[in-house]
Symmetry: C2
Subunit: 489 residues, 2 copies
Amino acid sequence: MADDKKLTTRAADFSAWYNELVLRAELADYAPVRGCMVIRPNGYGIWERMQRQLDDMFKASGHVNAYFPLLIPQSYLSKEAEHVEGFAPETAVVTHGGGKLLEEPLVIRPTSETIIYSMFAKWVQSYRDLPILINQWANVVRWEMRTRLFLRTLEFLWQEGHTAHATHDEAETETRRILGIYRTFMEQYMAMPVVTGQKTESEKFAGALRTYACEAMMQDNKALQAGTSHNLGQNFAKAFELKFQSAEGTEEIAWNTSWGVSTRMVGGLIMTHSDDKGLVCPPRLAPIEVVIVPIFRTDGDKARVLAAAEELKARLGSFERPEHLRRRIHIDAREGMKPGAKYYEWELRGIPLRMELGPRDLDQGQCVIVRRDTGAKQPLPLAELETALPALLETMQADLLKAALARREANSIRERISYDRFKEVMAGPGGFVYAGWCGDPAVEARVKEETKATIRCIPDPEFRSAEPPTTCMVTGRPATCEVLWAKAY
Amino acid sequence: MADDKKLTTRAADFSAWYNELVLRAELADYAPVRGCMVIRPNGYGIWERMQRQLDDMFKASGHVNAYFPLLIPQSYLSKEAEHVEGFAPETAVVTHGGGKLLEEPLVIRPTSETIIYSMFAKWVQSYRDLPILINQWANVVRWEMRTRLFLRTLEFLWQEGHTAHATHDEAETETRRILGIYRTFMEQYMAMPVVTGQKTESEKFAGALRTYACEAMMQDNKALQAGTSHNLGQNFAKAFELKFQSAEGTEEIAWNTSWGVSTRMVGGLIMTHSDDKGLVCPPRLAPIEVVIVPIFRTDGDKARVLAAAEELKARLGSFERPEHLRRRIHIDAREGMKPGAKYYEWELRGIPLRMELGPRDLDQGQCVIVRRDTGAKQPLPLAELETALPALLETMQADLLKAALARREANSIRERISYDRFKEVMAGPGGFVYAGWCGDPAVEARVKEETKATIRCIPDPEFRSAEPPTTCMVTGRPATCEVLWAKAY
């Protein structure tokens, strides 16, 4: 359990604040293998709610789940040239099984394009077998050198969608549809605003035709890539002979998409909303929405208050209620601990609402509710909780999104600035800078070298500036597009 | 899609029937790595429903989910003597990561006791930190030599619960509680009756004090171990120094339990209910409960029937409805395929109810419903479907359990038979044989050697014979207990 030492503040050391918060709120812990993490129940509960919601959204848009093997023959990875170049250096390799040296080494999947499209090739004969719209929830391993809890770990949990289509346009529509689902989820559930757009050639997925991404701004003004959706074109279909007979009888090559979000989102959620007291969790993703802290001095009061708390929990949180009407309530009935110490702990853990319930409250038929994000206190009649609690939770949910959006906009620069000024910004406060770009990859590389900032994306139309830039911020040459620059995780 | 060839019958070759069914109903497929499988959407949908239900049951009994790493230092496995002996020969070993030879090889978890209890040891200081009631949904790898789709694969999906307690008795209660949850799930959701009981010393989990199991009878009269729950005693707690300070201030060693069920259950479900036409899936676990097959000749009829089908699906299956009131409905609107061909396919896939809907049905405000298990046809008024469909599904669910139970009892021998007769039974029809046992492991080994039958468990009291056996079936010595013999998967 958390000790009483205060967290390092965000202002003093954002990175230390993040690590301390994750450990002390018991969201995750370091595992005995370098770069691996244990996701503890407080953190896993958030991931579970993310999973449940995204899964519903995938299913509502026609996708089904499946499961493909963890172990991939090393030769499979090599079949798509760019793909192997991107992933081979990062793989974990199984050389022995059942006490014997394997004939061919197996890699632990860093991503599953190769094994999945090899199976699709077996299953698809005719255009009638298309589209295939499959998702899997799985663990993957990438041998990263510098790791951070949730943000970059050797093993992480994710979903990876893989689809096959008869035409390029259908694949492109799917790629964009998923990007929209990710955006909706991040805004409406994580309360984390994102800029969507296309990745440049140098930042796209190894093997993709085009990569789209959701980019969010953390409280240290750095960008976090929170989800990607790839139009893979026919690259993998050609490598794995994923062909089909068209309605006209000709043999055609299929078109693929793949897309994923991971436990990294939990890190994004933390860095978007939390404060120096600890985690602030958007209500829709909070494993516990309301913690009841009973307040009493005498044994008689204790019995009465605990009974009332149990009655409230039974009424509002019963497993008999349909899930969307069931409140996730925890009663903190621990003995020998003062209410203040409990408040401190639940604030650290980010529970959206705290309910203080004492004998005087009961006399008046009310309780006191404290919001985690604002600290605002208000009395609420017990008889009205059934409607008042969901309303308050939804208000908090909306307020968190508004606050995050306002912070992002306050730290975004849309006016045209010089490259010298840009360097000052990136060396100083950081943030999102929208600027013209000539399209030259050498310029992109130079800026990265000089400032550590990268092109996060070529923003989608709704995120572009009202007056499009006409010249490249760096070279002064004509701009081919507007891009979003930021330092990133 | 399935071709028109009939399945091999169960009577002709049960094993071939099972493999064909799994492949042709598209429940699973062989992966390119030996012994690994791809779980296709039709099969994964069943597993997902199993997961959802079990997860609710675990949560309702106070458990929370977490996630521990896939990769375990090889030295961890060795810390518990029996454990390493049981699992080391079956491991897949990662020797290289990021292009380099690792200092210490890592094993892919065959089960997670070692890594989980090493973390518990870090988290637990005081009796106040107990109990820990954790579950994880994960993949594990065991390098098996002889594999079968769903039943035994190199990689499989499962849940593994891991708990820590202050006393032996509390751990024992937990072990038994979980066995009860498994039994309830298998009976009420899988419609698969099980015999619960304790494993003998030679069959218990490597590192456990006591192992309890659920044993089900398949249609070939062989037993399938469908779930196990282990009281681990202090074996792992000692190995990993999982200690705590008691309320009295003394240092104590904790007590652990672990328990798991896996994708093997899907194989059990298939072999319990299915017939020569294909899968029969219990309604509660069926990804699709009702398939609507529209019947029409003219374009006008077609439009009318399809519109009615869509209206039914929207009304009964809308995602707006709470999950427990939402019917899982699929409309088979494929063109150029006769209704009979569709019926054949949905029978193969085990959809519980087929709804035939034609223009004449619509004129009469009704539809025809066909049950997958019995083939029984009955007309149902469309206006009553909201209550009639769930009632019919629940009836089918209950009937499947009754039929499976009757089959098991018909193939169980409770009268006292000689060992010679026992050998005939095991060489012939097989089945469950309840018999006295002297408790000698050498006898157990000899019977296995001579008949391939093993002691599945020492049945719990409710499964024991009314008149307990007094002598050992094999040796004639006094019986120490009654045991359940069977050949097993």
